[in-house]
Symmetry: C2
Subunit: 250 residues, 2 copies
Amino acid sequence: MKDQASVLRETDGEARKLARTLLRSARYAAIAVLDPESGFPFSSRVLLGTDIDGVPVILVSGLSTHTRALDADRRASLLTGEPGKGDPLAHARLTTQCLAEPVERDTDVHARIRGRFLSRHSKAKLYVDFPDFRFFRLVPQSASLNGGFGRAYVLDGEDLMIRSSGNEALAARADAIVLNLIETDSDLARRAAGAKAEKRIDWRICGLDCAGIDVISGDFLVRYEFDEVAEGVEGACSHISNIKYAIPEI
Amino acid sequence: MKDQASVLRETDGEARKLARTLLRSARYAAIAVLDPESGFPFSSRVLLGTDIDGVPVILVSGLSTHTRALDADRRASLLTGEPGKGDPLAHARLTTQCLAEPVERDTDVHARIRGRFLSRHSKAKLYVDFPDFRFFRLVPQSASLNGGFGRAYVLDGEDLMIRSSGNEALAARADAIVLNLIETDSDLARRAAGAKAEKRIDWRICGLDCAGIDVISGDFLVRYEFDEVAEGVEGACSHISNIKYAIPEI
């Protein structure tokens, strides 16, 4: 990337937050892998989730080209950030370079990933347990953020990870916490969606980690990032309680 | 692909037409290339056009990773077919494996591609002539069509090409033909968009070749494929005149 120095901007907190949000709010991505038969790059579409440490997760069929490719070569690239109206290149997008790790069935990690994935993609319940379907964790190694014309940034893989001593504890209690949040504050998910909640209904929390929460309305997913990463369950709940006042009541 | 035989369907005319439409109606694509520095696949977004022979065309900055990658290795993969509402994997998409050919400036081919590209992407006028911006033709070698769950097809690169003796003649006269069409039948573009024209206005023709026409309304592009490839200008005009009666007046 050295020869790009003149167009690259210095990676600041705002760029990192935008990159995290693009990765964590993507329901799907274009994945690029290396086709083991031809050596060509191969681009296809995958559903995307995240693990408790922010690592993107895919659920794929063993019959697909991308799965056979990842079995032969772990290197993969994810494009997230969908264009809205107008010029597609004016919309921010993120390329994340990853190393794929297969997730073994009948493990705690698999159960955690499965639960988080189905909270986000409820229709995947139909096939998640088929014998040929598998999860991969795609561990970020580096990333390129394009925030629109002339706004390019390079990130480390670490910038996209959630490093918190509270990850395991939060994962273990996430379902109970979400249930409790719904009971005590039924409007929380809508407020977390902020301005994007407009004209959409039936918001629900579909993900919770030490860096933020994911809320969804139909097929529209929004990521709410905390101001800082929580170091435990109490910290995460404290950040969530702040959402109550982050956006004024309409 | 041999081990995929059980999930692959026989590639028929309907599958080929869907594949062509997915490629020719895409305003943008996810491109996958081989990063020359890391060997990783690299996924990013590009604006897409087509040449007169159906070959997809991209306009890229020499400063971008994908351009430097294509200079080092011609192999590329294009993902087209955007998900609408609902399950992203229920929407048809096409992976096209291509070999990139740089388009030399100050040639007839460059002028033809430039004109066609700007008809589709009018905002690209702002930078198309910048010295670091270049066109590549991405010549299809093979393709994988995923028409939704359990509907997978393999195609030859040739299936996506427009092989007509009339290509050159039509390219030379396309602008004049489109002008004439607009004068004689101002409603043609809307009718070509068919059912997709609903609730959108200001349809215009933004592309014409021996296999069909492209029409656009704002940032919504529709491909109308002729029933068969025309072998000359007259044949193409005859197919276009059929559009007049293909869709009943509302």
